[in-house]
């Protein structure tokens, strides 16, 4: 265990935000989960007791009839906001006093940094470069992420869960989002920061980042494994496999969705449903492609003269 190396990575000033983000995220997930479960308990209660449902104020927090339903912003909200501002200021000041913003050598185009890393919030995309061609990782994916986020309100037809934490009423939506945010975004950043060392090689935490390390790794294309040699063959094969993934995966997801999310399925239009399916399957495709690469050393699945997937 190379503690020195570990410490060096953890204490790099630009990595501190990521270190800070992990407990923060854990805390907020806990906070959300707590409220969601409280709400879910309440919902279950109210569902079984319609009479109570008619009179109940429908929040997990205590309430008495005499209490105001609305409170004045001044002072009740503003005092919280000011307090938050003060605390953020304190954190920021202490952080700024104790930790210096990094400043390295003057830019030198002739001396490549190894590893050369993008800002931490883009490390997820940089990590994707390992698995995909730059145009997918660098252009298509960010676009998909943005569009994916933007279409959420239009494909989430579930009217429940607006304005309160819940899990039971929105299992699919929250599950998918957690998958996208935690697995595909945050953990990729984590890998890019702490796991990827010189030469963008995989180093377990505590392993020495040896600049001389050489790894024997042959990544083969899927068509080659199947002995397909002609370009046309490869193109067709890849298209079949990728299309197959979408078709078969789509079938599975559909089967699942139709059974467990029957109401949503009913509510959704064909367009909404297909957009949802496309994004969902693409998201699923990412870890599958990663695992294919990391475990089976498969480089590309679909090879064409113009692009590879």
């Amino acid at each position: 265990m190379d503690w020195k190396q570990l410490w060096e990575i953890l204490s790099a000033p630009d990595n501190v935000p990521i270190i800070a983000m992990i407990p923060l995220l854990a805390f907020y997930i806990y906070l959300a989960w707590k409220q969601a479960s409280a709400n879910d308990v309440l919902i279950a209660q109210l569902e079984t007791n319609p009479s109570l449902a008619k009179t109940h104020h429908r929040k997990a927090w205590p309430f008495q009839p005499g209490w105001a339903k609305e409170v004045h912003v001044w002072p009740f909200l503003l005092r919280v906001e000011f307090l938050a501002a003060i605390i953020v200021t304190i954190i920021l000041m202490v952080w700024s006093i104790t930790l210096n913003a990094p400043l390295e050598e003057p830019a030198n185009p002739n001396l490549t940094m190894n590893p050369a890393k993008a800002p931490w919030y883009f490390l997820g995309l940089q990590e994707m470069l390992v698995y995909f061609d730059p145009w997918i990782a660098g252009v298509v994916m960010p676009t998909l992420i943005i569009f994916g986020l933007m279409v959420i309100p239009y494909i989430d037809t579930n009217p429940l869960g607006a304005g309160y934490y819940t899990w039971k009423q929105r299992k699919f939506a929250i599950g998918t989002f957690l998958f996208g945010f935690i697995i595909l975004w945050v953990s990729m950043i984590f890998i890019g920061t702490f796991i990827r060392g010189p030469g963008w090689q995989w180093f377990w935490p505590g392993q020495t980042w040896d600049h001389n390390r050489l790894i024997y790794e042959v990544n083969r294309d899927l068509p080659d494994i199947f002995g397909i040699t002609s370009n046309l063959g490869k193109g067709i094969f890849g298209a079949v496999v990728v299309g197959g993934f979408f078709a078969i995966g789509g079938m599975f997801v559909h089967a699942f969705f139709r059974r467990h999310n029957a109401k949503d399925f009913k509510r959704m239009s064909l367009l909404q449903y297909s957009i949802m399916m496309t994004f969902f399957l693409t998201m699923l495709g990412l870890p599958i492609k990663m695992l294919l690469r990391l475990l089976f050393h498969i480089k590309y699945v679909w090879i064409t003269p113009w692009f590879n997937v």
Partner: protein, 254 residues
């Protein structure tokens, strides 16, 4: 490096700690006594002064003194023999005897009187002499020819001055200790003598009978050195009690 220290204190708790710590600057706590202060020169009590004397012998045949060809300068008329080992009857002359160690940090006054170095018969007289550092050496030329006096020291300043016949005496000093400092004359290559510059006045040069005496030494432990220009140096350790008069002989081998 900075980041590491920063990381360690990066917490609100450390804030208070740091404010408290702010008072304590870094200070080198290591204490190390300096070198012992120089012992003050204690005056020598003449009542307890001891002395050392003896004879320096040459064990073996004295080499035959080489003849010097002084023909190049008709003005030179002297004994035509080299002086590097002068011995008669086994007694070795021109050996410089001095107290090499044991006087500690004592300081001594520079004798006021000058020591004369004479050039006559195209030879230096004496051949070996001792002076205290900064003591004046008076150099006279008794020859009807021009000499030049050219000391070639190791640790002192070199100089080379000419002295025509009947010229005024030169007065020179040497500031630093140096044993067997050769002095020559470029015009008469055979002319050669040695000045010994010491810090203390405790030295002597053996005469033709090989005898020497050093007087007025305070009691103590000393190293007495016998130095001969060709035959090298011999050191003898001696302990002198008050009013001691010890005899130390030395024998050189050719």
């Amino acid at each position: 490096m900075k980041t590491k220290t920063s990381m360690a204190v990066w917490s609100l708790a450390a804030l208070l700690g740091l404010v408290l710590l702010a008072g304590c600057g870094k200070k080198e706590t290591e204490e190390q006594p300096a070198a012992a202060p120089a012992a003050a020169a204690t005056p020598i009590d003449p009542a307890t002064a001891a002395s050392v004397s003896g004879t320096v012998k040459l064990d073996g045949e004295a080499p035959k003194a080489a003849k010097i060809d002084m023909s190049q300068d008709p003005a030179c008329k002297g004994t035509n023999t080299a002086e590097n080992v002068v011995a008669s009857g086994g007694h070795l002359a021109n050996v410089f005897v001095y107290v090499k160690e044991g006087l500690g940090n004592r300081t001594f006054d520079v004798p006021k009187e000058a020591i004369t170095l004479d050039q006559s018969g195209c030879k230096y007289h004496p051949h070996v002499m001792g002076v205290v550092a900064n003591q004046t050496i008076k150099i006279v030329n008794s020859d009807p020819t021009t000499h030049n006096i050219h000391p070639t020291p190791k640790d002192n300043r070199e100089w080379n001055e000419s002295q025509p016949p009947k010229a005024a005496a030169l007065e020179k000093t040497f500031a630093r200790e140096e044993i067997m400092l050769p002095v020559k004359c470029n015009q008469h290559p055979w002319m050669r003598m040695f000045v010994n510059v010491t810090k203390s006045p405790f030295f002597a040069v053996t005469g033709p009978d090989g005898k020497y005496e050093i007087k007025g030494l305070p009691p103590g432990e000393y190293t007495i050195a016998f130095v001969q220009e060709k035959l090298g140096e011999q050191d003898v350790k001696v302990t002198l009690a008050a009013k001691d008069a010890k005899t130390i002989d030395a024998t050189f081998k050719p």
